[in-house]
C-alpha cells in the first residue's frame, strides 16, 4: 500500500480520523456495556472486541506509513445521558454511525486497496448498526446532504 513515493497527507488524515472513531467506539461500548445484560451485554462485548481489533489494525497501518497514530482520549462524552439499557442500545447504534462515516472517508482516497478496506469495514459496521437499531437503512454512513433528492 505504501508505494515508493511519499504517502499523501489525505491518506494519513483519513486513517487518523478512522482510528479516532474506533477509539471513541471502544470507549463508548465500555459505557454501553455497563447498562446491558444477557444477550445484549454479550453483543456489546463482541462489538467492543471487534472495534479493539480494528483499532489495532489502523494503528499498525498508520505506523507502517511512517506516521504516529493519534492516541485515544482519556474519556469521551456521549451525546446524551447513558443511564439505561435503552440509552445504551441507542449509543451503540450511534457509535457505529460515527465509525461508518470515518471509513467512508477511506473510500474516497485514491488508493484502491484503502477504498476496498474502507468499504469492507463499512459492511461490518453497518451490520452492527442494523443489529442495535433493529432495522436496516438504505445508505449507511452517507450524510443526507450527499444524497440527491
Amino acid at each position: 500500500m505504501a508505494g515508493p513515493g511519499p504517502v499523501p497527507t489525505a491518506t494519513i488524515t483519513a486513517l487518523q480520523a478512522t482510528l479516532a472513531a474506533e477509539n471513541a467506539a471502544i470507549y463508548g461500548y465500555g459505557v454501553a456495556g455497563a447498562y446491558l445484560s444477557g444477550g445484549l451485554f454479550t453483543a456489546a462485548q463482541r462489538d467492543w472486541n471487534g472495534h479493539r481489533a480494528a483499532g489495532a489494525t489502523l494503528t499498525a497501518m498508520i505506523t507502517r506509513l511512517g506516521a504516529k497514530p493519534a492516541p485515544a482520549a482519556d474519556a469521551y462524552r456521549p451525546p446524551f445521558p447513558v443511564n439505561s439499557a435503552r440509552a445504551a442500545v441507542s449509543l451503540a447504534a450511534l457509535l457505529e454511525d460515527g465509525v461508518l462515516t470515518a471509513y467512508l472517508g477511506l473510500v474516497a482516497l485514491d488508493e484502491v486497496a484503502l477504498r476496498t478496506f474502507g468499504a469492507q469495514r463499512m459492511q461490518a459496521s453497518a451490520i452492527r448498526a442494523a443489529f442495535w437499531r433493529g432495522s436496516t437503512t438504505a445508505f449507511p454512513g452517507l450524510p443526507t446532504s450527499a444524497l440527491k433528492s
Partner: protein, 178 residues
C-alpha cells in the same frame, strides 16, 4: 471448507452477473438500436460505465424482489423494507447518470429478458435473495476502483446496505415453506 464457501460465493456472483449480462443487449439496443443520422454519442467515461453497471445490478435486484413478492405475498411485511431501500439505491444511482435520457432507458420494462421464476418455496426464495444481496455487495466493491471518489462512496454505502439485507434475510424464517 473455505474452498467450498469461496466456490459457492463465486457461483452466486456469476448467477447475478449472468442476470445483468442478459440486460446488456437491451442497454445496447436502447442506445444504438434507433438509427441516428448524427454522430453517435461520445464513448462513456469509465465512471459512467461503472455507474451503468451498478444501475443494471440494482435493477436486477429490484426485479428479483418483485418476482419473489409476486409469488409469495406472505413475505411482503418482511421483504418490502429491503425492496424500498433498493428502489432508493436505484434512484440515487440514476440521478447521477448525466447522459441523454434515451441512452439510459430502463431495460427492466422490457419483456425480452425472462428471469427464471423464483422458487416455489418461500424459504428457498429468501435464500436466493440473500445470495443475490451478497453477490451485489461484492460486485459493488469490485467497481470502487473505476469510480470517482463521490461515486465510490455511494457504491460502498449501497454495498453496506446490501450486506445488512443479507444478514437480515438469513435470520428470516418464513412460515409455510412450499
Amino acid at each position: 471448507m473455505m474452498d467450498w464457501l469461496a466456490t459457492a460465493r463465486t457461483l452466486s456472483r456469476r448467477r447475478l452477473l449472468s442476470a445483468s449480462m442478459t440486460m446488456l443487449p437491451l442497454l445496447a439496443a436502447a442506445s444504438c438500436g434507433v438509427p441516428d443520422p448524427l454522430a453517435g454519442p461520445p464513448s462513456p467515461s469509465r465512471d459512467v460505465r461503472t455507474l451503468r453497471a451498478s444501475i443494471s445490478a440494482e435493477q436486477a435486484l429490484v426485479e428479483e424482489y418483485r418476482k419473489v413478492l409476486g409469488m409469495h405475498p406472505g413475505l411482503s411485511a418482511s421483504l418490502r423494507p429491503f425492496l424500498t431501500q433498493h428502489e432508493d439505491h436505484l434512484a440515487q444511482l440514476q440521478s447521477r447518470l448525466i447522459v441523454p435520457p434515451h441512452a439510459a432507458a430502463s431495460p427492466s420494462a422490457s419483456p425480452l429478458a425472462p428471469v427464471p421464476r423464483p422458487p416455489a418455496s418461500a424459504s428457498a426464495a429468501v435464500l436466493l435473495l440473500g445470495n443475490a444481496e451478497r453477490g451485489a455487495a461484492a460486485a459493488q466493491l469490485r467497481r470502487l476502483a473505476s469510480a470517482t471518489p463521490s461515486l465510490a462512496q455511494l457504491l460502498a454505502s449501497i454495498a453496506a446496505s446490501e450486506a445488512t439485507h443479507a444478514v437480515a434475510l438469513s435470520a428470516l424464517k418464513p412460515a409455510g415453506g412450499a
